[in-house]
Symmetry: C2
Subunit: 210 residues, 2 copies
């Protein structure tokens, strides 16, 4: 399969317009089965080390579970507020949309003791495969007009407990998904000048560090 | 920006036809500046925790550096062969294209002591941001007809030494890139029945583990 200029441009547009959505504007509209399947199939077509496909996706719409996650976030975010007490902006930021989003997805890495091709020198590759799956989901969600937010201000151990996760698993990502009426033109933290955009010149080196 | 059915289909086609390319069929053709820039800009538009953009990309075409990496691979792969000695297929697999690929890219996570928004509860988020960038690169490379292979059978410490990487960095991915005449229809390890494809039913749960 070959892709032409217009098709390459579409991929670029999707990549450039993907945003972290934190629940300002989730619409009250369920994600239909078809769209959800497209998102999950994007995940399962991600690269995985040794074709191990070491992912598990927990689809969460139970209100009591979401509430527990939201409480987990609140406790962790109180700690974070103290860390950023000199940066006034932090307090005003909305950093999660757990309750507002019609669907949450917890994404796990699941492993066993068997040797995995490609993981013999770098154990991290299993986890990294699952992160690639999350990025595929994010892009497909964006193309479908579905906002996705990755919520990382959570105590992982508590998440595992809430979801009754077995010992041989690791939480990779906790996601909130829902349709939105619009996506921001640029990352909110860029607009707010929390950090400056880096140029390629700042990020790219030739052959080795000097 | 809204995407229509055809555009969503194009993203799905790119995601589904992306392959890990291990140097069977890299063409002897340099990657022009424009295409390389598209790949790097896809990376720099990845999500990053707290808009930290904690990535560094080392573009490698120096033959002596590539040779050192190739030797690193050979040593690690000898160890791996012993681990998989009961699986005849392993010996026959070509698992890297370091020398054949006109361009290698080492992708690093670079950190400092400053607190990062979104990393206060989960330190891993910095690394994971860089993995998302790699997945964006992979998809853009595929759209451009450029094969990309992620080589993980490498001793990370030696890679850092070869590339003179500073202490506050971690190797995320070592990639080999080049144009190819064709991409396999499905993952090679699927074709070879190294592992079976998992169905969504095997990977998706509702609300929690039972």
């Amino acid at each position: 399969m070959k892709f032409n200029k217009e098709q390459i441009q579409i991929l670029q547009d999707i990549i450039y317009s993907r945003r972290d959505v934190r629940g300002h504007n989730f619409l009250d509209k369920k994600i239909p089965k078809d769209d959800l399947e497209k998102i999950l199939l994007s995940a399962s077509h991600a690269p995985s080390v040794g074709y191990s496909q070491p992912w598990k996706f927990i689809l969460i719409d139970d209100e009591s579970i979401k509430k527990e996650l939201r409480e987990n976030f609140d406790i962790e975010n109180e700690k974070a507020k103290k860390i950023f007490k000199n940066k006034k902006t932090y307090e005003d930021l909305k950093l999660e949309g757990i309750m507002e989003a019609p669907l949450n997805i917890a994404v796990f890495y699941e492993y066993d003791d068997e040797a995995v091709l490609g993981m013999t020198s770098q154990k991290k590759m299993g986890e990294y495969s699952v992160v690639c799956a999350v990025q595929n989901m994010w892009l497909m969600a964006r193309a479908l007009g579905i906002g996705l937010g990755w919520i990382s201000i959570l105590d992982e151990k508590k998440v595992l407990k809430t979801l009754n996760a077995p010992k041989n698993t690791k939480l990779i990502a906790y996601l909130a998904l829902g349709y939105v009426d619009k996506f921001y033109d640029e990352p909110e933290l860029k607009t707010l000048k929390w950090n400056d955009e880096k140029t390629l010149d700042e990020c790219v080196l030739k052959n080795r560090w000097q």
